[in-house]
Symmetry: D2
Protein backbone atom coordinates (compact mmCIF):
# COMPACT_ATOMS: atom_id res chain seq x y z
CA UNK A 1 0.00 0.00 0.00
CA UNK A 2 1.37 3.46 -0.88
CA UNK A 3 2.23 6.00 1.83
CA UNK A 4 -0.54 8.24 0.49
CA UNK A 5 -3.11 5.49 1.07
CA UNK A 6 -1.69 4.52 4.48
CA UNK A 7 -1.83 8.15 5.61
CA UNK A 8 -5.43 8.55 4.43
CA UNK A 9 -6.47 5.33 6.20
CA UNK A 10 -4.92 6.37 9.51
CA UNK A 11 -6.21 9.95 9.69
CA UNK A 12 -8.79 10.54 12.42
CA UNK A 13 -10.57 13.08 10.19
CA UNK A 14 -11.20 10.63 7.48
CA UNK A 15 -14.93 10.24 6.96
CA UNK A 16 -16.13 6.67 6.65
CA UNK A 17 -16.14 6.74 2.88
CA UNK A 18 -16.17 3.53 0.96
CA UNK A 19 -12.84 1.96 0.10
CA UNK A 20 -13.09 2.67 -3.58
CA UNK A 21 -13.32 6.41 -3.09
CA UNK A 22 -10.35 6.48 -0.75
CA UNK A 23 -8.36 4.54 -3.34
CA UNK A 24 -9.25 7.08 -6.05
CA UNK A 25 -8.01 9.90 -3.80
CA UNK A 26 -4.79 8.07 -2.92
CA UNK A 27 -4.11 7.32 -6.58
CA UNK A 28 -4.63 10.97 -7.51
CA UNK A 29 -2.15 12.10 -4.84
CA UNK A 30 0.45 9.63 -6.10
CA UNK A 31 -0.11 10.60 -9.74
CA UNK A 32 0.28 14.26 -8.80
CA UNK A 33 3.65 13.69 -7.09
CA UNK A 34 4.83 11.53 -10.02
CA UNK A 35 3.82 14.25 -12.46
CA UNK A 36 5.44 17.01 -10.40
CA UNK A 37 8.70 15.05 -10.43
CA UNK A 38 8.52 14.15 -14.13
CA UNK A 39 7.81 17.77 -15.12
CA UNK A 40 10.66 19.16 -12.98
CA UNK A 41 13.05 16.62 -14.53
CA UNK A 42 11.70 17.17 -18.06
CA UNK A 43 12.30 20.93 -17.81
CA UNK A 44 15.88 20.16 -16.79
CA UNK A 45 16.37 17.61 -19.58
CA UNK A 46 14.97 20.08 -22.15
CA UNK A 47 17.52 22.66 -20.94
CA UNK A 48 20.28 20.18 -21.80
CA UNK A 49 19.06 19.62 -25.38
CA UNK A 50 20.84 21.25 -28.33
CA UNK A 51 17.41 22.37 -29.51
CA UNK A 52 16.61 24.20 -26.26
CA UNK A 53 15.51 27.28 -28.22
CA UNK A 54 12.60 25.26 -29.65
CA UNK A 55 11.63 23.92 -26.23
CA UNK A 56 10.91 27.16 -24.38
CA UNK A 57 7.14 26.63 -24.28
CA UNK A 58 7.70 23.04 -23.15
CA UNK A 59 9.99 24.13 -20.30
CA UNK A 60 7.57 26.81 -19.13
CA UNK A 61 4.60 24.45 -19.17
CA UNK A 62 6.72 21.85 -17.33
CA UNK A 63 7.42 24.40 -14.60
CA UNK A 64 3.77 25.51 -14.39
CA UNK A 65 2.60 21.89 -14.22
CA UNK A 66 5.19 20.85 -11.61
CA UNK A 67 4.16 23.74 -9.32
CA UNK A 68 0.44 23.17 -9.66
CA UNK A 69 0.65 19.37 -9.23
CA UNK A 70 2.69 19.77 -6.04
CA UNK A 71 0.21 22.27 -4.60
CA UNK A 72 -2.79 20.17 -5.62
CA UNK A 73 -1.27 17.10 -3.92
CA UNK A 74 -0.84 19.09 -0.71
CA UNK A 75 -4.37 20.48 -0.81
CA UNK A 76 -5.79 16.97 -1.36
CA UNK A 77 -3.71 15.71 1.58
CA UNK A 78 -5.67 18.03 3.91
CA UNK A 79 -9.25 17.25 4.85
CA UNK A 80 -10.73 20.70 4.34
CA UNK A 81 -12.80 22.54 1.78
CA UNK A 82 -14.00 20.22 -1.02
CA UNK A 83 -15.14 23.40 -2.79
CA UNK A 84 -11.53 24.56 -3.12
CA UNK A 85 -10.29 21.05 -3.94
CA UNK A 86 -12.68 21.00 -6.91
CA UNK A 87 -11.47 24.23 -8.56
CA UNK A 88 -7.83 23.38 -7.90
CA UNK A 89 -8.32 19.94 -9.48
CA UNK A 90 -9.90 21.57 -12.55
CA UNK A 91 -6.96 23.97 -12.88
CA UNK A 92 -4.47 21.14 -12.39
CA UNK A 93 -6.14 18.92 -15.00
CA UNK A 94 -5.80 21.81 -17.47
CA UNK A 95 -2.11 22.23 -16.64
CA UNK A 96 -1.58 18.48 -17.17
CA UNK A 97 -3.43 18.62 -20.49
CA UNK A 98 -1.46 21.61 -21.80
CA UNK A 99 1.87 20.15 -20.69
CA UNK A 100 1.01 16.61 -21.83
CA UNK A 101 0.01 17.86 -25.31
CA UNK A 102 3.21 19.88 -25.65
CA UNK A 103 5.45 17.00 -24.48
CA UNK A 104 3.59 14.54 -26.73
CA UNK A 105 4.54 16.72 -29.70
CA UNK A 106 8.24 16.15 -28.88
CA UNK A 107 7.90 12.51 -27.81
CA UNK A 108 9.01 11.02 -31.15
CA UNK A 109 12.55 12.41 -30.82
CA UNK A 110 12.96 12.98 -27.06
CA UNK A 111 12.49 10.12 -24.63
CA UNK A 112 12.15 12.40 -21.60
CA UNK A 113 9.22 14.17 -23.25
CA UNK A 114 7.62 10.80 -24.03
CA UNK A 115 7.87 9.69 -20.39
CA UNK A 116 6.70 13.10 -19.13
CA UNK A 117 3.72 13.14 -21.51
CA UNK A 118 2.69 9.77 -20.07
CA UNK A 119 2.98 11.08 -16.48
CA UNK A 120 0.87 14.13 -17.46
CA UNK A 121 -1.83 11.97 -19.08
CA UNK A 122 -2.04 9.66 -16.09
CA UNK A 123 -2.25 12.64 -13.76
CA UNK A 124 -4.91 14.39 -15.82
CA UNK A 125 -6.95 11.16 -15.80
CA UNK A 126 -6.50 10.74 -12.05
CA UNK A 127 -7.65 14.36 -11.46
CA UNK A 128 -10.72 13.85 -13.64
CA UNK A 129 -11.61 10.54 -11.95
CA UNK A 130 -11.38 12.20 -8.57
CA UNK A 131 -13.50 15.13 -9.77
CA UNK A 132 -16.14 12.68 -10.98
CA UNK A 133 -16.20 10.98 -7.56
CA UNK A 134 -16.71 14.22 -5.62
CA UNK A 135 -20.16 15.36 -4.60
CA UNK A 136 -21.64 17.79 -7.09
CA UNK A 137 -21.34 21.43 -5.93
CA UNK A 138 -24.43 22.88 -4.32
CA UNK A 139 -26.58 25.07 -6.49
CA UNK A 140 -26.46 28.66 -5.36
CA UNK B 1 9.86 50.06 -7.69
CA UNK B 2 9.30 46.51 -6.37
CA UNK B 3 11.45 43.62 -7.58
CA UNK B 4 8.35 42.08 -9.19
CA UNK B 5 7.84 45.20 -11.30
CA UNK B 6 11.54 45.56 -12.14
CA UNK B 7 11.67 41.92 -13.30
CA UNK B 8 8.57 42.34 -15.47
CA UNK B 9 9.97 45.51 -17.05
CA UNK B 10 13.30 43.89 -17.92
CA UNK B 11 12.01 40.61 -19.39
CA UNK B 12 12.55 40.29 -23.15
CA UNK B 13 9.27 38.35 -23.44
CA UNK B 14 7.26 41.13 -22.08
CA UNK B 15 4.71 42.26 -24.65
CA UNK B 16 4.44 46.01 -25.08
CA UNK B 17 1.45 46.30 -22.81
CA UNK B 18 0.52 49.62 -21.37
CA UNK B 19 2.08 50.59 -18.08
CA UNK B 20 -1.10 50.30 -16.11
CA UNK B 21 -1.55 46.65 -16.95
CA UNK B 22 2.00 45.79 -16.02
CA UNK B 23 1.47 47.54 -12.69
CA UNK B 24 -1.67 45.49 -12.01
CA UNK B 25 0.31 42.29 -12.66
CA UNK B 26 3.22 43.36 -10.47
CA UNK B 27 0.85 44.31 -7.64
CA UNK B 28 -0.86 40.93 -7.85
CA UNK B 29 2.47 39.11 -7.61
CA UNK B 30 3.45 41.16 -4.56
CA UNK B 31 0.07 40.67 -2.88
CA UNK B 32 0.36 36.91 -3.50
CA UNK B 33 3.77 36.67 -1.81
CA UNK B 34 2.55 38.82 1.10
CA UNK B 35 -0.50 36.59 1.52
CA UNK B 36 1.57 33.39 1.30
CA UNK B 37 3.79 34.70 4.08
CA UNK B 38 0.95 35.96 6.26
CA UNK B 39 -0.94 32.66 5.96
CA UNK B 40 2.15 30.56 6.78
CA UNK B 41 2.79 32.72 9.84
CA UNK B 42 -0.89 32.79 10.87
CA UNK B 43 -1.05 28.97 10.82
CA UNK B 44 1.97 28.95 13.11
CA UNK B 45 0.55 31.60 15.43
CA UNK B 46 -2.77 29.71 15.65
CA UNK B 47 -0.82 26.59 16.69
CA UNK B 48 0.57 28.56 19.63
CA UNK B 49 -2.86 29.68 20.87
CA UNK B 50 -4.48 28.04 23.90
CA UNK B 51 -7.60 27.71 21.80
CA UNK B 52 -5.85 25.77 19.03
CA UNK B 53 -8.63 23.16 19.05
CA UNK B 54 -11.07 25.83 17.81
CA UNK B 55 -8.67 26.99 15.10
CA UNK B 56 -8.24 23.79 13.10
CA UNK B 57 -10.25 25.00 10.12
CA UNK B 58 -8.36 28.31 10.21
CA UNK B 59 -4.98 26.53 10.20
CA UNK B 60 -5.97 24.26 7.31
CA UNK B 61 -7.29 27.14 5.22
CA UNK B 62 -4.10 29.10 6.03
CA UNK B 63 -2.01 26.22 4.69
CA UNK B 64 -4.18 25.80 1.57
CA UNK B 65 -4.04 29.54 0.89
CA UNK B 66 -0.27 29.81 1.46
CA UNK B 67 0.39 26.98 -1.01
CA UNK B 68 -1.93 28.26 -3.69
CA UNK B 69 -0.76 31.89 -3.42
CA UNK B 70 2.89 30.81 -3.77
CA UNK B 71 2.11 28.70 -6.85
CA UNK B 72 -0.05 31.43 -8.41
CA UNK B 73 2.76 33.97 -7.92
CA UNK B 74 5.18 31.64 -9.72
CA UNK B 75 2.78 30.98 -12.59
CA UNK B 76 2.17 34.73 -13.04
CA UNK B 77 5.95 35.27 -13.06
CA UNK B 78 6.21 33.16 -16.24
CA UNK B 79 5.05 34.52 -19.59
CA UNK B 80 3.12 31.46 -20.76
CA UNK B 81 -0.46 30.31 -21.02
CA UNK B 82 -2.92 33.06 -20.05
CA UNK B 83 -5.59 30.34 -20.19
CA UNK B 84 -3.99 28.55 -17.24
CA UNK B 85 -3.26 31.82 -15.43
CA UNK B 86 -6.97 32.60 -15.54
CA UNK B 87 -8.19 29.38 -13.88
CA UNK B 88 -5.39 29.46 -11.30
CA UNK B 89 -6.28 33.06 -10.42
CA UNK B 90 -9.93 32.06 -9.97
CA UNK B 91 -8.92 29.18 -7.67
CA UNK B 92 -6.56 31.43 -5.73
CA UNK B 93 -9.18 34.16 -5.28
CA UNK B 94 -11.48 31.51 -3.78
CA UNK B 95 -8.75 30.31 -1.40
CA UNK B 96 -8.15 33.93 -0.30
CA UNK B 97 -11.89 34.47 0.22
CA UNK B 98 -12.33 31.29 2.30
CA UNK B 99 -9.25 31.99 4.41
CA UNK B 100 -9.98 35.71 4.72
CA UNK B 101 -13.54 35.01 5.91
CA UNK B 102 -12.32 32.47 8.47
CA UNK B 103 -9.57 34.74 9.80
CA UNK B 104 -11.95 37.71 9.92
CA UNK B 105 -14.15 35.67 12.27
CA UNK B 106 -11.26 35.47 14.77
CA UNK B 107 -9.91 38.98 14.18
CA UNK B 108 -11.62 40.55 17.20
CA UNK B 109 -9.58 38.49 19.67
CA UNK B 110 -6.47 37.50 17.70
CA UNK B 111 -4.28 40.16 16.13
CA UNK B 112 -2.50 37.70 13.80
CA UNK B 113 -5.85 36.69 12.31
CA UNK B 114 -6.76 40.36 11.84
CA UNK B 115 -3.54 41.05 9.95
CA UNK B 116 -3.86 37.83 7.94
CA UNK B 117 -7.49 38.58 7.02
CA UNK B 118 -6.32 41.92 5.65
CA UNK B 119 -3.57 40.25 3.58
CA UNK B 120 -6.13 37.76 2.21
CA UNK B 121 -8.58 40.54 1.27
CA UNK B 122 -5.90 42.55 -0.49
CA UNK B 123 -4.74 39.46 -2.34
CA UNK B 124 -8.25 38.45 -3.37
CA UNK B 125 -8.81 41.99 -4.69
CA UNK B 126 -5.50 41.95 -6.57
CA UNK B 127 -6.39 38.58 -8.17
CA UNK B 128 -9.80 39.87 -9.25
CA UNK B 129 -8.37 43.11 -10.63
CA UNK B 130 -5.87 41.12 -12.66
CA UNK B 131 -8.60 38.78 -13.89
CA UNK B 132 -10.63 41.80 -15.01
CA UNK B 133 -7.65 43.14 -16.96
CA UNK B 134 -7.01 39.89 -18.85
CA UNK B 135 -8.42 39.35 -22.30
CA UNK B 136 -11.72 37.50 -22.23
CA UNK B 137 -11.34 33.76 -22.98
CA UNK B 138 -12.12 32.75 -26.54
CA UNK B 139 -15.52 31.20 -27.11
CA UNK B 140 -15.19 27.57 -28.03
CA UNK C 1 10.79 1.39 -13.12
CA UNK C 2 9.75 4.57 -11.25
CA UNK C 3 9.17 7.84 -13.11
CA UNK C 4 12.13 9.34 -11.23
CA UNK C 5 14.43 6.65 -12.59
CA UNK C 6 12.97 6.83 -16.12
CA UNK C 7 13.47 10.59 -16.17
CA UNK C 8 17.08 10.30 -14.98
CA UNK C 9 17.83 7.64 -17.60
CA UNK C 10 16.42 9.71 -20.46
CA UNK C 11 18.03 13.07 -19.62
CA UNK C 12 20.71 14.16 -22.11
CA UNK C 13 22.66 15.78 -19.27
CA UNK C 14 23.03 12.61 -17.40
CA UNK C 15 26.70 11.77 -17.03
CA UNK C 16 27.62 8.16 -17.77
CA UNK C 17 27.54 7.15 -14.13
CA UNK C 18 27.26 3.53 -13.20
CA UNK C 19 23.80 2.09 -12.79
CA UNK C 20 24.07 1.70 -9.05
CA UNK C 21 24.64 5.39 -8.49
CA UNK C 22 21.71 6.40 -10.66
CA UNK C 23 19.52 4.00 -8.69
CA UNK C 24 20.61 5.58 -5.39
CA UNK C 25 19.66 9.01 -6.74
CA UNK C 26 16.28 7.82 -8.06
CA UNK C 27 15.49 6.13 -4.74
CA UNK C 28 16.33 9.31 -2.84
CA UNK C 29 14.00 11.37 -5.05
CA UNK C 30 11.18 8.89 -4.50
CA UNK C 31 11.76 8.73 -0.74
CA UNK C 32 11.72 12.54 -0.61
CA UNK C 33 8.34 12.78 -2.36
CA UNK C 34 6.92 10.00 -0.15
CA UNK C 35 8.15 11.80 2.96
CA UNK C 36 6.80 15.17 1.78
CA UNK C 37 3.39 13.60 1.31
CA UNK C 38 3.43 11.66 4.59
CA UNK C 39 4.45 14.77 6.56
CA UNK C 40 1.78 16.96 4.94
CA UNK C 41 -0.86 14.33 5.73
CA UNK C 42 0.48 13.71 9.26
CA UNK C 43 0.25 17.43 10.08
CA UNK C 44 -3.38 17.32 8.95
CA UNK C 45 -4.15 14.14 10.91
CA UNK C 46 -2.56 15.64 14.06
CA UNK C 47 -4.85 18.67 13.66
CA UNK C 48 -7.84 16.31 13.83
CA UNK C 49 -6.72 14.66 17.09
CA UNK C 50 -8.36 15.55 20.40
CA UNK C 51 -4.87 15.95 21.80
CA UNK C 52 -3.85 18.55 19.18
CA UNK C 53 -2.50 20.82 21.93
CA UNK C 54 0.20 18.22 22.68
CA UNK C 55 1.07 17.82 19.01
CA UNK C 56 2.11 21.37 18.14
CA UNK C 57 5.81 20.56 17.85
CA UNK C 58 4.94 17.50 15.76
CA UNK C 59 2.81 19.56 13.36
CA UNK C 60 5.48 22.24 12.96
CA UNK C 61 8.22 19.69 12.30
CA UNK C 62 5.90 17.92 9.82
CA UNK C 63 5.46 21.20 7.94
CA UNK C 64 9.20 21.99 8.00
CA UNK C 65 10.03 18.48 6.79
CA UNK C 66 7.40 18.47 4.03
CA UNK C 67 8.71 21.77 2.65
CA UNK C 68 12.36 20.80 2.76
CA UNK C 69 11.81 17.31 1.28
CA UNK C 70 9.86 18.78 -1.65
CA UNK C 71 12.58 21.36 -2.35
CA UNK C 72 15.37 18.78 -2.01
CA UNK C 73 13.59 16.49 -4.48
CA UNK C 74 13.39 19.33 -7.00
CA UNK C 75 17.03 20.30 -6.56
CA UNK C 76 18.11 16.67 -7.05
CA UNK C 77 15.96 16.50 -10.19
CA UNK C 78 18.17 19.20 -11.78
CA UNK C 79 21.68 18.38 -12.95
CA UNK C 80 23.45 21.41 -11.51
CA UNK C 81 25.64 22.24 -8.55
CA UNK C 82 26.59 19.10 -6.55
CA UNK C 83 28.00 21.54 -3.96
CA UNK C 84 24.51 22.89 -3.27
CA UNK C 85 22.94 19.41 -3.46
CA UNK C 86 25.27 18.31 -0.67
CA UNK C 87 24.34 21.02 1.87
CA UNK C 88 20.65 20.74 1.04
CA UNK C 89 20.80 16.97 1.56
CA UNK C 90 22.47 17.50 4.94
CA UNK C 91 19.77 19.96 5.98
CA UNK C 92 17.03 17.63 4.74
CA UNK C 93 18.46 14.63 6.59
CA UNK C 94 18.35 16.71 9.78
CA UNK C 95 14.71 17.69 9.15
CA UNK C 96 13.85 14.01 8.61
CA UNK C 97 15.65 13.03 11.79
CA UNK C 98 13.94 15.68 13.92
CA UNK C 99 10.50 14.91 12.50
CA UNK C 100 11.04 11.12 12.58
CA UNK C 101 12.09 11.24 16.25
CA UNK C 102 9.08 13.37 17.18
CA UNK C 103 6.61 11.16 15.28
CA UNK C 104 8.20 8.00 16.71
CA UNK C 105 7.42 9.32 20.19
CA UNK C 106 3.70 9.35 19.29
CA UNK C 107 3.72 6.14 17.24
CA UNK C 108 2.44 3.89 20.02
CA UNK C 109 -0.94 5.64 20.13
CA UNK C 110 -1.27 7.26 16.70
CA UNK C 111 -1.04 5.19 13.56
CA UNK C 112 -0.44 8.21 11.29
CA UNK C 113 2.61 9.15 13.35
CA UNK C 114 3.89 5.57 13.12
CA UNK C 115 3.58 5.56 9.31
CA UNK C 116 5.08 9.07 9.05
CA UNK C 117 8.02 8.15 11.31
CA UNK C 118 8.75 5.25 8.96
CA UNK C 119 8.64 7.54 5.90
CA UNK C 120 11.00 9.99 7.66
CA UNK C 121 13.47 7.23 8.58
CA UNK C 122 13.51 5.84 5.06
CA UNK C 123 14.01 9.34 3.66
CA UNK C 124 16.81 10.17 6.10
CA UNK C 125 18.54 6.90 5.14
CA UNK C 126 18.12 7.61 1.43
CA UNK C 127 19.58 11.13 1.87
CA UNK C 128 22.57 9.74 3.78
CA UNK C 129 23.19 6.98 1.22
CA UNK C 130 23.15 9.56 -1.56
CA UNK C 131 25.51 11.81 0.40
CA UNK C 132 27.89 8.88 0.83
CA UNK C 133 27.85 8.22 -2.93
CA UNK C 134 28.70 11.83 -3.87
CA UNK C 135 32.25 12.87 -4.55
CA UNK C 136 33.92 14.28 -1.45
CA UNK C 137 33.97 18.11 -1.40
CA UNK C 138 37.18 19.76 -2.45
CA UNK C 139 39.44 20.97 0.34
CA UNK C 140 39.59 24.74 0.45
CA UNK D 1 5.49 47.88 8.64
CA UNK D 2 5.75 44.81 6.39
CA UNK D 3 3.33 41.90 6.74
CA UNK D 4 6.26 39.70 7.80
CA UNK D 5 7.02 42.02 10.71
CA UNK D 6 3.36 42.46 11.67
CA UNK D 7 2.88 38.68 11.74
CA UNK D 8 5.98 38.17 13.89
CA UNK D 9 4.85 40.88 16.33
CA UNK D 10 1.38 39.39 16.75
CA UNK D 11 2.35 35.73 17.20
CA UNK D 12 1.72 34.40 20.71
CA UNK D 13 4.81 32.18 20.40
CA UNK D 14 7.09 35.04 19.85
CA UNK D 15 9.67 35.13 22.63
CA UNK D 16 10.29 38.56 24.13
CA UNK D 17 13.32 39.22 21.97
CA UNK D 18 14.57 42.71 21.51
CA UNK D 19 13.17 44.74 18.65
CA UNK D 20 16.35 44.70 16.65
CA UNK D 21 16.42 40.93 16.41
CA UNK D 22 12.82 40.71 15.31
CA UNK D 23 13.56 43.29 12.62
CA UNK D 24 16.50 41.23 11.34
CA UNK D 25 14.23 38.17 11.07
CA UNK D 26 11.45 40.10 9.32
CA UNK D 27 13.94 41.59 6.85
CA UNK D 28 15.33 38.14 6.07
CA UNK D 29 11.84 36.77 5.36
CA UNK D 30 11.10 39.70 3.03
CA UNK D 31 14.44 39.38 1.24
CA UNK D 32 13.80 35.65 0.76
CA UNK D 33 10.41 36.22 -0.88
CA UNK D 34 11.86 39.00 -3.07
CA UNK D 35 14.68 36.71 -4.15
CA UNK D 36 12.33 33.77 -4.82
CA UNK D 37 10.27 36.02 -7.09
CA UNK D 38 13.25 37.59 -8.86
CA UNK D 39 14.82 34.18 -9.52
CA UNK D 40 11.57 32.70 -10.87
CA UNK D 41 11.16 35.69 -13.19
CA UNK D 42 14.85 35.71 -14.19
CA UNK D 43 14.66 32.03 -15.25
CA UNK D 44 11.69 32.95 -17.40
CA UNK D 45 13.37 36.02 -18.90
CA UNK D 46 16.51 33.95 -19.68
CA UNK D 47 14.29 31.45 -21.54
CA UNK D 48 13.13 34.30 -23.79
CA UNK D 49 16.68 35.41 -24.70
CA UNK D 50 18.17 34.55 -28.10
CA UNK D 51 21.25 33.35 -26.22
CA UNK D 52 19.26 30.87 -24.08
CA UNK D 53 21.79 28.12 -24.88
CA UNK D 54 24.44 30.10 -22.96
CA UNK D 55 22.13 30.66 -20.01
CA UNK D 56 21.37 27.07 -18.99
CA UNK D 57 23.45 27.20 -15.82
CA UNK D 58 21.87 30.55 -14.94
CA UNK D 59 18.34 29.16 -15.40
CA UNK D 60 19.07 26.09 -13.28
CA UNK D 61 20.63 28.11 -10.47
CA UNK D 62 17.65 30.51 -10.65
CA UNK D 63 15.29 27.57 -10.16
CA UNK D 64 17.36 26.08 -7.32
CA UNK D 65 17.56 29.47 -5.60
CA UNK D 66 13.83 30.23 -6.01
CA UNK D 67 12.88 26.88 -4.45
CA UNK D 68 15.28 27.14 -1.54
CA UNK D 69 14.44 30.79 -0.76
CA UNK D 70 10.71 29.99 -0.67
CA UNK D 71 11.26 27.03 1.66
CA UNK D 72 13.63 28.99 3.91
CA UNK D 73 11.07 31.81 4.20
CA UNK D 74 8.43 29.30 5.30
CA UNK D 75 10.73 27.63 7.82
CA UNK D 76 11.65 31.03 9.32
CA UNK D 77 7.94 31.88 9.53
CA UNK D 78 7.46 28.98 11.99
CA UNK D 79 8.71 29.22 15.56
CA UNK D 80 10.31 25.78 15.79
CA UNK D 81 13.77 24.29 15.67
CA UNK D 82 16.50 26.97 15.49
CA UNK D 83 18.91 24.08 14.83
CA UNK D 84 17.17 23.36 11.50
CA UNK D 85 16.77 27.07 10.70
CA UNK D 86 20.54 27.44 10.98
CA UNK D 87 21.48 24.73 8.45
CA UNK D 88 18.74 25.78 6.05
CA UNK D 89 19.95 29.40 6.22
CA UNK D 90 23.51 28.24 5.45
CA UNK D 91 22.28 26.23 2.44
CA UNK D 92 20.15 29.16 1.25
CA UNK D 93 23.02 31.64 1.55
CA UNK D 94 25.09 29.32 -0.66
CA UNK D 95 22.29 29.12 -3.25
CA UNK D 96 22.04 32.93 -3.26
CA UNK D 97 25.82 33.26 -3.66
CA UNK D 98 26.00 30.77 -6.56
CA UNK D 99 23.01 32.33 -8.33
CA UNK D 100 24.10 35.90 -7.61
CA UNK D 101 27.60 35.24 -9.00
CA UNK D 102 26.18 33.65 -12.14
CA UNK D 103 23.67 36.46 -12.74
CA UNK D 104 26.32 39.11 -12.04
CA UNK D 105 28.35 37.62 -14.90
CA UNK D 106 25.49 38.41 -17.30
CA UNK D 107 24.47 41.72 -15.73
CA UNK D 108 26.35 43.91 -18.22
CA UNK D 109 24.17 42.84 -21.14
CA UNK D 110 20.94 41.61 -19.47
CA UNK D 111 18.98 43.92 -17.18
CA UNK D 112 16.95 41.07 -15.63
CA UNK D 113 20.18 39.37 -14.53
CA UNK D 114 21.42 42.66 -13.05
CA UNK D 115 18.24 43.07 -10.99
CA UNK D 116 18.24 39.39 -9.99
CA UNK D 117 21.92 39.51 -8.94
CA UNK D 118 21.03 42.41 -6.66
CA UNK D 119 18.11 40.49 -5.12
CA UNK D 120 20.42 37.49 -4.55
CA UNK D 121 23.11 39.63 -2.89
CA UNK D 122 20.59 41.31 -0.60
CA UNK D 123 19.13 37.94 0.32
CA UNK D 124 22.53 36.36 0.96
CA UNK D 125 23.40 39.31 3.23
CA UNK D 126 20.07 39.05 5.06
CA UNK D 127 20.62 35.29 5.63
CA UNK D 128 24.11 35.90 6.97
CA UNK D 129 22.97 38.73 9.25
CA UNK D 130 20.27 36.50 10.66
CA UNK D 131 22.76 33.65 11.13
CA UNK D 132 25.05 36.01 13.05
CA UNK D 133 22.17 37.03 15.34
CA UNK D 134 21.21 33.44 16.23
CA UNK D 135 22.52 31.82 19.37
CA UNK D 136 25.67 29.82 18.70
CA UNK D 137 25.00 26.06 18.33
CA UNK D 138 25.71 23.95 21.39
CA UNK D 139 29.03 22.10 21.43
CA UNK D 140 28.53 18.38 21.05
Amino acid sequence: MSYAEQMLRTSPTNPPVDDQRLTVLAQAIEALFDCAQACTACADACLAEDSVKDLVRCIRLNLHCADLCATTARILSRQESPELARVVLEACALACKLCGDECAGHAAHMEHCRVCAEACRRCEDACRQLLASLEPPKLR
